[in-house]
Assembly symmetry: C2
Homo-oligomer: 643 residues x 2
């Protein structure tokens, strides 16, 4: 089957393929065991159990978090993506049986949420703010669309349509409907996906309603609280209903606020609706949120949501490294938002952010072996502080096997299993290459088939080769190659001849009557870059981070000893890069000379003393990619290094 | 009346007198109104109300915190001190009436705690861990001793003795007694004070029991929890029973741990008992705690307890400036501990810490007008962060009028009202001058009367003049003058001739047959010093603080503009000092040239970019004493400045 872009891809990328294979061969089977409570050393998930109880197949109670159903849906989505390139009858059967179970729990009116089916349907839709029914519905719909695209089966899609119809009958601006909206967003973008597949206008209409109704006066969540008396935890702090992005309408919001995952999921839905309706004021809102995030509230790793409190955005340029939250799921959600902005306008900055998050703040979320995960992705870690400082109790120096609230690992799985969708897109006569993901791609620019093969040393070098392997039509079409924002020099040639085209908004448009055998060579210069943060970022003042191409680097204690704060980079170190096959799954290591503070002079135990000459001696420094940190036992890590 | 040292002092110090007068003429009357719930714009205290209910004079319930009684006791103590130098029949009558009220609430067996008298005596002593009965008893005893010393009256002292006797009948290692101890320490040192006045061995015996029993297995607070089922909040986090310094015996404790106020109150009691019993292992424990605090866990301001969580010590060298807790009461408690160490051994380092805390992290706790107070004393403030960052929600950019939990203002009052006790002491033939507090002092070295007059420009200059104004005896005695640890050069002369003596352990011992008219001139060199923190203090790496004499300086936005993090001090600035009568109540200002980062080059809104040449331009910097910050409206402040 083809992916949602009407394209088909076989990924054979030296960097990503093994990771995608880890998802397929390890994470998905492992998570299936987890979802069935069969892992001896992990908290039970209860997901499948809850569906069995809801469908009457088992006795028992609802167990786990109110949003437990969504874990199963994310797993279905990820598993479905893997079937596209790796048909697997056993997995397909597992999915079919599971979907049968899910369908058997669905109520006659289409309603489907095991928490309320088990605990009493009379209470459904009474706590939209905190009880995640609409969130779970959104993930089920996303899973259904993915399963349909992967297998052609309508089984789960029909369940999803009945569920969406149920939502549509209950929610909306029309008389007699509730004027509510999801406490945790995702249903908005899910309904747009369902609309894309079914072409059923009602789903787009409902998505638009959810996007626009949110935050309108009288505030639904306040009205709901008056009825239920359920106190809103967040109203005691600075976030208030903006924790849910529900304190004012999106057209009046000026900054990315509140719970970061919810926020970027919401903005993704807003962007979808803006694109499909052509609504300029919604698009303007998306632009404001995009700028707020990427210009004032995003870590260099693509991580977002700098505070543990509310897992939330805070305020402009507040990007602490050691107390960072930067949830893996939030960076994934930023990729969702960026891809939708890219669907509206072809600007390199959107793909730049996808790349930044993907290679850094998202990939750091999983260990090299794919067996353990970070929820929180700090940019500076001192293990003693994680253990003893309550302000950093959310920061772990080592990845964990599984989580009680297990949102990140299945989210990682569904992203990596569908990575080709972020790398390429076709629009009219253009084939866009957003990310240099290696493999073989079948696309239909202008309706005519072409097969391309892309290979590169990405992200370790910028040598990219694109070859047309099959093309019958002689019609010209355009290859639009992204020139990354980090790249200051590049050359491009086709058939050995330099191309005269210049990049526009980050894309190089090469229009030719491409034919089989044609070869395009793109060479992106990829020196080590010393990066500064905006001077308003207090946490990074006087500090430097190293990047090479899309990869953010860090120092680890394993290579550089403890007390990383004693290290200074010096004014103009000479960087050396070396490919190291055997370290951390194969990485390009950066080395240079740095300076380290000698401890001499403090032996008398004084805590404060008049300044004396400080002794910094020359030491070799060894930087590794940020995503690969914490794969060699606990130790200090730092991205931002003193100058 | 004389103070506890058998000395009498009239303070006429250009720096402290006005502050002590503020305590006497403003804070004490204001707090009396507060304790009687007569302040229209403050939360009621309920203190006097509770005593009226407990004594049956009024109907009503117990109101306020379980430790509410202690606020009243601290006020009595402070008010009593002021009577020593300022007899005031009205205040004396107010105190006498109040003491009569207190006495009328005392139970036949001596028990006195309004919370349990009102709520049911059958429940008394069932929650020592959290219900502060023994803490309140301690403060009442301290108040009683102070009132007795100030007025000669035994009214409150008799109440205190009956209360101490009640404690002694209920607690101890003897058969039939409870083996408990205070949840919040203070009773230990209070009992020693009571012993000093009454010479009743039982009180010292009970103090020693409390000091030594704490943390012995089986842990009393665990046993108590088994009976009551009251869950210990702190056992869920890293502090456990060490929050109360009650997880292991003091002789096994290696570091200052837990709630900082409790800790230093406890160590004060330990030091008292160690001194009076000559117990070497207790003294060794005091030495360990002292070193733990002053060498690894103390801010440059003398602030201690770096974490809001548990208002507690954390771990070595963890001294964050922007999330600091550094409670005013904890620095006051450190002064209590230091004075007791000084009573054991004459070492300048103890008085150095008293001075450091007093002029910096304690004095910062009150506004210049004595009307508003800080609980928390951070070393770096950005007002926007205090408002929006949950990690800094305990940090206020402006002092508050009064507190629901009002421990700090009355603690400040009782410290400042008894400051002479910290400045001077007499031991055998020695008159020790620990602090250069100006005024007239009557002392009895070797039993013979002498009156001294000390005047100085302290803390703004180091010129100190000590004059013998009255001396009848011709017996020699020793003036022991402290040479502060911050002082690198000094000269001393008597009668115009240089003294040949050298300082020993921070004191200069001048033994002469001093006679009336003799004059000693001590000149302490007081240049501006650039201070570094130990390189293990991550928060201060690459930064400098300025001190001049005992005063820690800071930059404020009011003088230097916002974005203090853009400022660098440069390598060797020339400092200028200037006495400014009209600023902040009269201060010595430090000015120099510094460097400020130009914001140019970031106009495109980028959050990260490759390093370009940074432009630092020269700017004038103006430093003010840290204690005087936040007296000109909210704004940024920083003690530690980038080099």
């Amino acid at each position: 089957m083809a992916n949602a872009n009407g394209m088909h891809m076989t990924v054979t990328d030296p960097f990503w393929s093994s990771r995608i294979e880890t998802v397929r061969t390890q994470m998905i089977p492992y998570q299936w065991e987890a979802l069935n409570d069969r892992l001896p050393d992990a908290e039970p998930s209860h997901c499948v159990h809850n569906y069995k109880v809801a469908s009457g197949q088992e006795a028992g109670r609802f167990e786990g978090c109110v949003f437990q159903d969504s874990d199963l849906a994310k797993w279905i989505e990820a598993a479905s993506y893997t079937l596209i390139s790796h048909p697997d009858p056993t997995l397909q059967k597992t999915l079919a049986d599971l979907i049968e179970l899910i369908a058997s729990a669905q109520q006659p009116d289409g309603y489907l949420d095991t928490y309320y089916i088990i605990n009493g349907l009379d209470k459904r839709f009474t706590n939209l703010r905190d009880h995640h029914e609409l969130y779970c519905a959104g993930h089920l719909i996303e899973a259904a669309v993915a399963h349909h695209e992967a297998t052609g089966s309508r089984m789960l899609l029909d369940v999803a349509r009945r569920l969406a119809d149920c939502m549509e009958r209950n929610f909306g601006a029309e008389p007699g409907k509730m004027r509510g909206y999801p406490g945790h967003e995702v249903l908005e973008m899910a309904l747009v996906r369902l609309y894309n597949v079914t072409e059923e206008e009602r789903y787009l209409h409902l998505a638009r309603y959810f996007v626009e109704e949110r935050g309108q006066a009288p505030l639904y969540f306040e009205e709901e609280e008056k009825k239920t008396g359920n106190h809103c935890h967040w109203s005691d702090g600075p976030l208030g209903l903006q924790y849910y992005q529900a304190g004012k309408p999106i057209r009046e919001q000026t900054d990315a606020e509140g719970h970061a995952v919810r926020a970027v999921y919401y903005y993704s839905g807003v962007a979808d609706v803006a694109r499909l309706t052509g609504d300029e004021s919604l698009l303007a809102a998306c632009d404001r949120m995009w700028e707020s995030i990427t210009r004032r509230r995003m870590y260099i790793t693509g991580g977002i949501g700098s505070s543990d409190y509310g897992e939330a955005f805070t305020y402009d340029y507040d990007l602490p490294n050691d107390t960072a939250y930067a949830e893996t799921c939030a960076a994934i959600g930023l990729v969702f938002f960026a891809r939708r902005m890219l669907a509206i306008r072809k600007r390199g900055e959107y793909a730049d952010v996808i790349e930044r998050a993907l290679y850094n703040g998202i990939l750091s979320g999983m260990s090299l072996d794919g067996q353990s995960f970070f929820y929180v992705n700090p940019l500076e870690v001192v293990p003693e502080a994680c253990e003893k400082d309550q302000l950093r109790r959310h920061v772990q120096p080592e990845r964990q096997k599984w989580f009680g609230c297990a949102c990140c690992p299945p989210n990682l799985a569904r992203l990596l299993a569908s990575l080709d969708r972020y790398a390429y897109s076709t629009e009219e006569n253009n084939v866009f290459v957003h990310l240099y993901l290696g493999g073989s791609l079948e696309a239909f620019p202008g309706g005519e088939r072409v097969v391309l093969e892309l290979s590169s040393g990405y992200p370790w070098n910028g040598e990219i080769r694109l070859r047309i392997t099959e093309r019958e039509s002689s019609a010209p079409f355009t290859l639009a190659l992204r020139i990354p924002g980090w790249c200051r020099n590049y050359t491009v040639s086709a058939g050995g001849e330099a191309c005269p085209e210049k990049a526009q908004d980050g894309y190089l448009y090469l229009t030719r009557a491409w034919k089989a055998g044609d070869e395009i060579c793109l060479s992106l210069s990829m020196p080590v870059e010393r990066i500064k943060a905006h001077p308003a970022v207090r946490a990074d003042i006087g500090k430097i981070a190293l990047m090479r191409g899309p990869i953010v680097y860090c120092l680890e204690e394993a290579d550089n000893g403890a007390d990383l704060h004693h290290i200074r980079l010096g004014d103009s170190p000479l960087f050396q890069t070396r490919w190291d096959e055997r370290t951390l799954g194969g990485i390009t290591v950066i080395t240079c000379e740095g300076k380290r503070l000698a401890k001499a002079g403090w032996e008398d135990g004084a805590l404060y003393r008049p300044q004396a000459e400080e002794d910094y001696h020359t030491v070799p420094l060894r930087f590794i990619p940020y995503y690969a940190w914490a794969n060699r036992g606990p130790g200090e890590m730092a991205v931002w290094i003193r100058q």
